[in-house]
């Protein structure tokens, strides 16, 4: 029939050969793989230690306190987000290698493309916009406090509150894992991904609540999401490593 189908039958045929092929993986895939933990380590350092977005500053503060936040952290925001705008391509690489291994599954490409697309959507509102808002805020510290407050709200709401893009990606990831017969990722990782969707839904109240567990710095809306995301990401990195390791060196390139 179509070329799509013939390409998909070959990886499944490879499953049987796994025992015989050397457990080395492909060099180019390994190279890309190691960028993923390196990028997310840098990402964590930037958001936690430098830009002070995590844990997020409080939503229930006065305009003056927001101005003070930007003044107090201007230097580290500049360093952190200055580095982020340089290395943010790492997010694309991280999404790329996941999509690559998803395309090696026996489920067609539609979920891989949905994952790739939805994660790419998340790059602007879910990651970069807060950097632009904060960088713009500290660029001219003498700006009208009301304007700084707007950048504060816009940055943090976009960062904590971009929910649908990631939910779509987790949905696609989970469906692909559940249907896959090549066992690229373990089935339970699909359920962790579904739990990720739950945490996105639990973050809905950040647009309403200004204090307490459902505010953008709250225990449920924020911390639960961070913990589950941290767990999910660690699992994804470990199993990306496994998938890379188990990929036969002679597996033909993907279509």
């Amino acid at each position: 029939m179509s070329s799509t189908i013939s390409a998909q039958t070959s990886p499944s045929a490879k499953v049987a050969e796994n025992g015989r092929t050397p457990r080395a993986g492909k060099r180019d895939v390994w190279l890309v793989f190691w960028i993923v933990p390196a990028f997310y380590t840098a990402f964590g350092l930037i958001f936690f230690a430098l830009a002070r977005v995590m844990p997020p500053p409080r939503p229930d503060v006065t305009t003056d306190q927001m101005v003070h936040f930007f003044h107090a952290h201007a230097l580290t925001i500049k360093i952190g987000f200055g580095i982020l705008v340089l290395i943010v391509g790492g997010a694309g690489i991280a999404n790329g290698i996941v999509a690559f291994h998803m395309k090696r599954m026996t489920v067609g490409s539609v979920m891989a493309y949905a994952y790739l697309g939805a994660m790419s959507v998340g790059a602007l509102p879910g990651c970069l916009l807060v950097a632009f808002c904060f960088l713009t805020a500290v660029y001219r510290p003498g700006r009208d406090p009301q304007l700084l407050a707007l950048l504060y709200d816009l940055g943090l709401l976009s960062y904590v509150g971009s929910l649908g893009c990631f939910s779509t990606a987790y949905f696609a990831f989970a469906v692909a894992i559940l249907y896959d017969k090549n066992e690229i990722f373990p089935k339970w990782l699909a359920y962790v991904s579904i739990w990720q969707i739950v945490t996105e839904i639990m973050a809905v109240p950040v647009f309403v609540s200004k204090a307490g567990p459902f505010a953008w710095n709250g225990s449920i809306a924020f911390w639960m999401g961070v913990v589950v995301f941290g767990f999910w990401l660690s699992c994804v990195i470990v199993f990306l490593m496994k998938a890379t390791e188990l990929q036969p060196v002679d597996e033909p390139p993907l279509e």
Binding site: M111, G164, S167
Partner: protein, 247 residues
Amino acid sequence: MQILAEAEDLPKTANIKTQLISLWTAPVFGVVLLIAFLAFPGFFPPMSPDMTAEQVARFYSDHTAMIRFSMITFNLCGVMLLPFFMVIVIQMKRMATQSHIFAYCYLTAAVSGATLFALADIFYLTAAFRPDRSPELVMLLNDMAWMIFIAPVGAFVAMNLLLGLAVFFDDGPNPVFPRWVGYYAIGTALAMAPAAGAAVFATGPLAWNGVVSFWLRNGAFALFVVVMFVVLRNVLHRQAVEEGVAR
């Protein structure tokens, strides 16, 4: 579609099933998005660019709850239409008499379109987060939201032109889509294109609340999803039968 028992576990069957799941996200989330659309207090009629800053600020403080309900729903469910457009990508990649170039370009254009939608949504929600901030700033956020929501139709125009071209290039004996889908896609592109005028016009049919920029643009998009759902359902059924997956 009835999946054959003997084909149940085959990769080609999973390929059909994952496409079916992606396809059905469209009606499921389409209904949710329709509710969000009907719930937004500023769509019936669409908010005028003529409103003063005080009027805009009052709109956000008077209707805060419904604005939040509507825009949070759009936030959560808007991008859930993306898998549906990825089914179109997969079907474009099945076209036998062409390279996959149109399909990949369609994919990236769809991502751009969805990104802009997600971005506009955050501006509405930020305006509604503290409606008591200076009216000038609420209006600034509202203007940004409407500008980003309505004007940048380039991604949708590109998608539909690419789909149209792909259908016309798919001129072998067994085309994926019926030929009228090509004309329909081009027609949708033409119907959405004038909304770019919302970037400059503040009154008339091309303003963001105008008949052309708001109703024709959004109507054409919604109709496209409905029509393509039916088309893709048939296409998928045919693919499944041809590949011996279903009858």
